[in-house]
Symmetry: C2
Subunit: 221 residues, 2 copies
């Protein structure tokens, strides 16, 4: 559904990688479970070579861990893991917001404001699917707006899938919709004002709030 169109699979390993990644993020392959190469080769109808290739790439995303001569395991979800992940996210996305305030074009900022307006309408009608698609879209635009390829890779190809894995498997975020909207609005304002310092600070606080919201769910489960 929310597939990145840029990610078109051209080789067989690509396809297997994307599918396996989705299955891990969505929990079809359980968190913490062991990945047998022969097993997966049979399940996805490919040779062990492409499975190894896919596993190798999944390791880059921090979705699995490998030990030599032993095998690969899906990462486990824990409160500490979530905390660590969000500390990194806070750091990187804060920098992304700072750079976006400097590097986004006026046109891009306008479109970002348009996106926000459309979200506002959606929130008013009470639809709550906002969180998943809209929130990700918002953050992606700012990340891409940083124009820093390193940062973009790290976040889009690296951390975001793990973040999504936590979101999906702990149940999507709850009643924070309207308050998150205000935070988004202030971040966009700071970017529009070309106030890099403030944009970074607001983004960091926004992510801190999000983390606390998720963490409260984790402990109450």
């Amino acid at each position: 559904m929310t597939e990145n169109p840029a990610e078109q699979a051209i080789t067989s390993a690509d396809k297997t990688f994307y599918q396996l990644r989705r299955d891990i993020v969505e929990g079809v392959v359980a968190a913490g479970s062991k990945l047998s190469e022969a097993d997966l080769a049979g399940r996805y109808n490919v040779s062990r070579a492409v499975i190894r290739e896919a596993i190798s790439r999944l390791e880059s995303c921090h979705l699995i861990e490998r030990k030599a001569n032993v095998g690969a395991k899906v990462v486990g979800l824990s409160e500490q893991g979530l905390t660590e992940l969000y500390q990194v996210r806070e750091s990187l996305e804060g920098m992304a917001a700072r750079l976006a305030a400097i590097n986004m074009t006026d046109e891009e900022i306008e479109k970002l404001q348009d996106l926000l307006s459309s979200h506002f309408k959606t929130v008013k009608t009470g639809e709550t699917y906002y969180q998943e698609a809209g929130d990700v879209d918002f953050h992606y635009r700012i990340i891409l707006g940083s124009k820093n390829q390193h940062l973009i890779n790290l976040l889009v190809n690296g951390l975001y899938h793990l973040i999504r894995m936590y979101r999906v498997q702990l149940g999507m975020a709850g009643p924070r919709v309207t308050t998150a909207f205000d935070e988004h609005k202030h971040i966009v304002q700071a970017i529009a004002n070309r106030d890099a310092e403030l944009a970074e600070m607001l983004m960091r606080r926004h992510i801190q709030y999000t983390q606390r919201n998720l963490a409260s769910k984790l402990t109450s489960n």
Copy 2:
């Protein structure tokens, strides 16, 4: 020389990966050059399978780039690449310093101060090899002191090799030794005072200075 003892190669792909990584960082394999699998297989006396494995891991370190059905190339060094890299580094190591101020044990902080003292003696005698070994050692301790495994992985296994590649191939840092020492001292003080906010700020400024120092060399070459 400055090999991380934790990185012992147990499989053949490990050995090839470490060696190829070193060759890339040191410039034995030229930046920007194409990597032919058959070529490397012959040069390192291993099968193409282990070369592919090694290449796959090097991609995780951001040291090479791959395109399907075309091949792998060593990343190129550019001023923009350096800027982007240091923006990410500033962000992540800033967070590392913040967390180190919170999570390092009193004992670890004492040892960090000892390290600083020994550096002070070295600087006074005018030895300049400080930069390479000592500086890396200093930063590593703070990174590890964050106790955030994500952050540690991203920096130690990811960005630091690329940073080293820039350092090595643009000539090691120059006359900034004594002024860098003062910056280090203030960072340690902030950590010892458990002042997370200040530690992050000082680390970020320290890294900004370092970047400018490197960038000036790049343009003058």
